[in-house]
């Protein structure tokens, strides 16, 4: 298993390099220039050229790319054009906010979706089934930003239970959770709907399989059959989706981060791209690529926990 993990981790190197190269090229192909964006609409051409030279953007593209690779090999992702601080410092600052949001949103989705999916499968055709499916349809149809604004007006403006904006005090988990609750609920909707349907479908297949019939024939209680035997077998695809969902929410929640004016990797990435802060955007992509690989690896390793037959070689 250790060998498997090492091999998987080594695979991240070409993956990160590929992602970094793609983003390096894409950013520079996009029209617009960091110096111009930074200096503003009315900057003179002379000042723009001066700043381009300072950032090394006056060099040919292959020279810029080589410098980027050399720096990357040394673990140096550079300094933000905008903040003049190391780009990793900014990522380290916003990462906990994205992590809390991602874990909470996937957690809420799983806690609601899995029981609903199981109930719908066990009592197929019942009010549970139709109710669960209707809820899933409703959740998946609601635009996240709209749900976010509705939640904000209900629970932040109206009831004043949660703050309307911000990510909470860094390092204070209670404050961060308090601030992340509404955005996490808003984000969990789509994933929740998908997970509920997936759980229902898998559970339905598993419940029809022979070992379940055997378990029932042995006289096991229905609760034990469903939760101990059937659910564990139905969980592997659900775990995969949860893992992907976590990565996606951590890096791709820019809309909800804007709606709740909270820090996060997604917003940082989009801000960096619109501000043509090349180095910051590159660093965000590299971190997100590594994050996805790690989350996938953890997800795969967790398969063994729910299904002891899974072996890693």
């Amino acid at each position: 298993m250790t060998q498997y993990i090492i091999r998987r981790l080594l695979l991240t190197v070409p993956l990160v390099l590929g992602a970094a190269t793609l983003v390096f090229i894409a950013l520079r192909l996009a029209p617009g220039d960091p110096a111009q964006v930074l200096l503003g609409t009315f900057a003179t051409a002379e000042r723009v050229a001066q700043l381009q030279a300072k950032f090394g953007l006056d060099q040919p593209l292959h020279v810029q790319y080589w410098r980027f690779l050399v720096a990357l090999a040394q673990g140096d992702l550079g300094v933000s054009y905008l903040t003049r601080q190391p780009v990793m410092a900014e990522i380290k600052r916003v990462f906990p906010y994205s992590l809390v949001l991602g874990v909470m949103a996937t957690g809420i989705a799983a806690l609601v979706a899995i029981p609903v999916g199981v109930m719908a499968a066990v009592r197929r055709g019942s009010a549970w089934d139709y109710g669960g499916l209707s809820l899933a349809l409703l959740l998946v149809s609601m635009p996240t930003f709209w749900l976010g604004i509705i939640l904000m007006y209900l629970f932040a403006v109206g009831l004043e239970w949660f703050p309307a904006i911000g990510g909470g005090t860094a390092g204070d988990l209670a404050s961060m959770i308090h601030h992340a609750t509404l955005p996490a609920i808003a984000l969990s909707g789509g994933l929740m709907a998908f997970l509920a349907r997936l759980t229902r479908a898998n559970m339905h297949d598993v419940l029809a399989s022979e070992f379940v019939r055997t378990a029932r024939a042995k006289g096991l209680a229905e609760r034990v059959v469903v939760y101990k035997h059937a659910l564990r077998n139905a969980m592997i695809p659900v775990l995969s989706v949860l893992g992907l969902g976590l990565g996606q929410i951590m890096g791709g929640s820019v809309i909800i981060e804007v709606v709740f004016a909270r820090p996060g990797l997604g917003k940082l990435l989009v801000d960096s791209i619109t501000g043509r802060d090349y180095l910051q955007a590159q660093a965000c992509i590299i971190v997100l690529a590594i994050l996805f690989v790690l989350v996938n690896l953890l997800t795969e390793l967790s398969y063994a926990l729910v299904d002891p037959r899974v072996r890693y070689q």
Partner: protein, 526 residues
Amino acid sequence: MLAAALGTAACGGGSSGGDPAPGGSAAGGGTATGTPAQDGKVLVFVDESVGVSNIPAFTTTSEDANKYALIYNTLVRIKPGTTTEIEPELAESWEVSDDGLVWTFHLRRGVQWHRGYGEFTADDVVFTWDFLKNHEDSLYRENAAIVESVTALDPYTVEFRLTAPFQPFIWRVANILPFTGYVLSRAAMEDLGVDGYEQTPVGTGPFILEELVPREHVLAVANPDYFEGPPLVDAVKMVAIADTQTALAALEAGNVHIVELADHLQASRFEGSDRAEVMARQAYLLYWLNLNMTLPPFDDPRVRQAVLLGIDYQAVIDAALGGYGTIPHQGLLQPGMVGFDQAVNPPNRYDPEAARQLLQEAGYLDNPVPVTCVTYDSTLAIRYGEVIEQNLRQIGFDIDIQNLERGTFNEVRMAEDAQCVILGYSGEPEPDFLMSLFYGPNMPPAMLNISRYTGIDDLFEAQSQAATAEEREQLLRQLQARVVDDVPLVMAVMGDRIWIVSNRVRNFEPLVTFSGLLFQNVDLVE
């Protein structure tokens, strides 16, 4: 200079501060987490971003103005509530020599720098201008070039000697863009270095920068030793919120107290509200069409005139700004600006029949040349564009207004074949910069005279070197008349600035200019 309310290029940022400076006691102390300031009266206002730099010489974005107004002072300032009235700030009085070349400022005594850097003196003014003129990263070297020398005659008297008479010079030492007026501390810069100063800026202003989180917020605590008396609140927090809906929800939830609207149509929600007040002020949120005079169809003055007469200015104000705007004047200068004269520069009028007639005479209606206008993609720019495009199509223009992403727009607008480029601008009462955008030598790619206009070059040069204010006004009058005749641009919109202010806030005076809000007299009640 960027259009604050039209959306700006800089998406926020700055450098993080917060560490107590080596040179002295950082007032307020501690970090933003649970500081006494945060537990006390903290006035929170929303800005589009927290700006780019803590050193005024390094930025040209108007979002930095509010931050500078908290931290720094200038020799003189625009009297709040006025546009062109100047009042003393760090200088108590000033005089100009008869030849207009020597400006002498008598400075206030006993003003203290933040963080224990001692008393503000004339030497700090000398240092600031040396920094503006000579630091390699200074963005104002051209602006500062008019100053030949700055001399401290004694600790409380400073003399500027100009290379030529320059009537607008008083604005160079005032609290507006260009940010040449904000005075830096020589002692602090020598002690901290440029990077250190960027982290912990040292000013004489009513608030001391405590913390800056790039793209998110600035926290500044009250300066108990402020020379006009300590501020009434314990701290001011400036939060960057990009989404207007979010900002307004946060205001209703009590998380923020003052929001400047980037979307004027939202104001109606708060008209008559018992939670907050709508404060609208006529301002210079200008938006105009640069018509390239060297390319068809705008090389024909009749076609340019047709654009001028073909826009329903009131409809633009109503549809895009919810009525919060004023019909603009064509001659660049707007009411309240230095030298504005309504007699030669009347408000624009809408006359679609006359416009169509002009197009007919120019032969355009029979052989229409397709026109592409490019602009950026802010909420307001998109709404303005829709109305203007519809108006101009109605009179017979084959026109397409494209809203481009900022980076793309910055490139496309400089192209030689750009026929029509729409720019937005957060204007100042001193029109020197606005006029320079239509000065012959400032054509692309160096600058933004996209119209390729050369008609006011003589007057522009003469007015900036006029020896007296009267002489300058006379030249500005001629300049306005000439722009009205030549139509190198069409001034399309002049929007108000609107603030939504919580009913907990007292004594807030919105600014007509983009000088940075003044918070030293603002209070927060329960």
